[in-house]
Symmetry: C2
Subunit: 365 residues, 2 copies
Amino acid sequence: MDNNEPLLIDTDVHIQVGNIMPYLPKVWQSQWKTHGIGLGYMYHSPIRVSRSDAVPERGGAPGSDPDFLISDHMDRYGIDYAILNGNALALSLHPDPDYANAIITAFNDCLVDTWLKVSPRFKGSMFVNASDPAAAAKEIRRIGEHPDIVQIIMASATRMLYGQRFYHPIYEAAEQLGLPVAIHPGTEGVGVSGAPTPSGYPTRYMEWHNILPTNYMAHINSLVCEGVFEKFPRLTFVAIEGGVAWLPHLMWRMDKNYKALRDSTPWLKRLPSEYIKAHIRLTTQPIEEPDDPNHFLQICRMIDAEKTLMFSSDYPHWDNDNPNMIFRGMDKGLKHRIMAGTAADLYGLARRPIYPGTVSGGMSE
Amino acid sequence: MDNNEPLLIDTDVHIQVGNIMPYLPKVWQSQWKTHGIGLGYMYHSPIRVSRSDAVPERGGAPGSDPDFLISDHMDRYGIDYAILNGNALALSLHPDPDYANAIITAFNDCLVDTWLKVSPRFKGSMFVNASDPAAAAKEIRRIGEHPDIVQIIMASATRMLYGQRFYHPIYEAAEQLGLPVAIHPGTEGVGVSGAPTPSGYPTRYMEWHNILPTNYMAHINSLVCEGVFEKFPRLTFVAIEGGVAWLPHLMWRMDKNYKALRDSTPWLKRLPSEYIKAHIRLTTQPIEEPDDPNHFLQICRMIDAEKTLMFSSDYPHWDNDNPNMIFRGMDKGLKHRIMAGTAADLYGLARRPIYPGTVSGGMSE
């Protein structure tokens, strides 16, 4: 480890991108002004989604002020880089792909102008409309080469599983530009997506939130079985905020079944668990907290956490994790890989950022 | 451990119940003869569902001959008791509840006559139509007191999650008669059930089979969050053939969320994981087989396996587990609990059966 290596990278920080109206073609402005994303959410947190102490000093919603985000979160914990994830995920679940495509393009342009230009410590996830893969690929090629765009993000809720060939144009463009593709939860049951479980709708927010990782298992299973990582061998898929400790079970079950049923997936050249360890990355928040911390360390060994797991805080959401309070008893080498090393490798962030104190605003002048 | 305690109880043995026509009211006979259960299955195992070496010597389908099942499976491995699970699970997913109710009643009567009377080593799971809970409760009270009926079994695929109050009449009757309620996979995507994942349909049998446990997570989460085990404190719910190693993650995530969101489930008096350990039992097959067997032993400690886990073979299915080849390196006390102890407690099988050799046919004379 050299002295210039980043020590803390936060792979999931939530922002309100800002006012997209100036970036939006006139034809869509009235609908955006009146209805916004315009899809119903049924599951509401009884304690709100964002922490009330994350409201910026200048006012506005939590995650809407770049300066405050740096001081309230990044400087407080010594975070070198934050991967910024905005608030347009549900658009892939809009029935109208033209509306979704236009809003997403505006969001991406606004993200670059109002956030990524503010500080070299900010790196961005660009949105795509996963329900219109040809348009998504075009958008990736339009803006994905921006040096501060480091990832493509999509909602984990979909109408079809992400391994299916419908989505392959997205992966082709992502691989071509060297961008990982990430999924993020929270839109399960929204818009044109189906029920959040194979057996219908959970009753309340807590029950819905408890079970979100099952959709991640379904997507990772689909990606591996459909041969996505044989077809796109340089693609990395990032499972943000979907939990961690379920991965051993999924790998073991997939490997066991593959040994008996591999005739049905002749394109696979390795065990399913080998594709997972090579191509899937998980972010930590909300990290599982067993009574015996040793149990989590055992899970880390089962999943080769030194190369699969990346720290995330989920700031400013209600259940965000404090980087100073997790991974007690973990050895320093593994902890460094989780807190920064794997993310530095994945997102090309080998050096700590150079900035004079809090540089908000300075970089775009 | 005294000398008369059972040493091996198999909690999931599959049988073909037999010819139900004599047990079926005339009005349904034509439909049964022409269409049977009459629901489409889309996911087909490339190596068939049942082992070809389990075809009885006298012919017929695997699991259709009581004598052969005893000699080919129970005597071979020294199994004291087998919990028999028949082939009518999908009926809860039939659009017509009257048809499903009639066929299920016939199946239950046929099960008693053609299997449970054959050997004291056979214990049966009775079917109910989970989609018609009032009829299900009536059926439980009709036949559930039979001394060899030890469990109620339902398909894990449903239109609604099993914690919801729609199903509570089933649990009320089950608790009243002291019968555990079990779910079994394999009908995900069949009949009136929804897609097998929150994001639609898997592509092939292997992919579908890999992901079946996610539905178990959804149901257990629902049962706990909806307060089923506060309302029915003597109820036990058995998760058959749904995997094991995912349970730590589910418990840890539920406990963490409960600490923040418990206001929304004020009827819960304990941590979610405490309800799970007290009221949920898992069967072992298909047991996860990590490269390092110690990893599975670690999982066992995380889930208090000595009271939550019960051996099952899934005979005669393609992926059935051999009781002589699993749980290497496990200490004897824990292994006895899994192989027999917990099932003996749950199903009231404290003594080994008394029978002269293979007693097929003798008990009903």
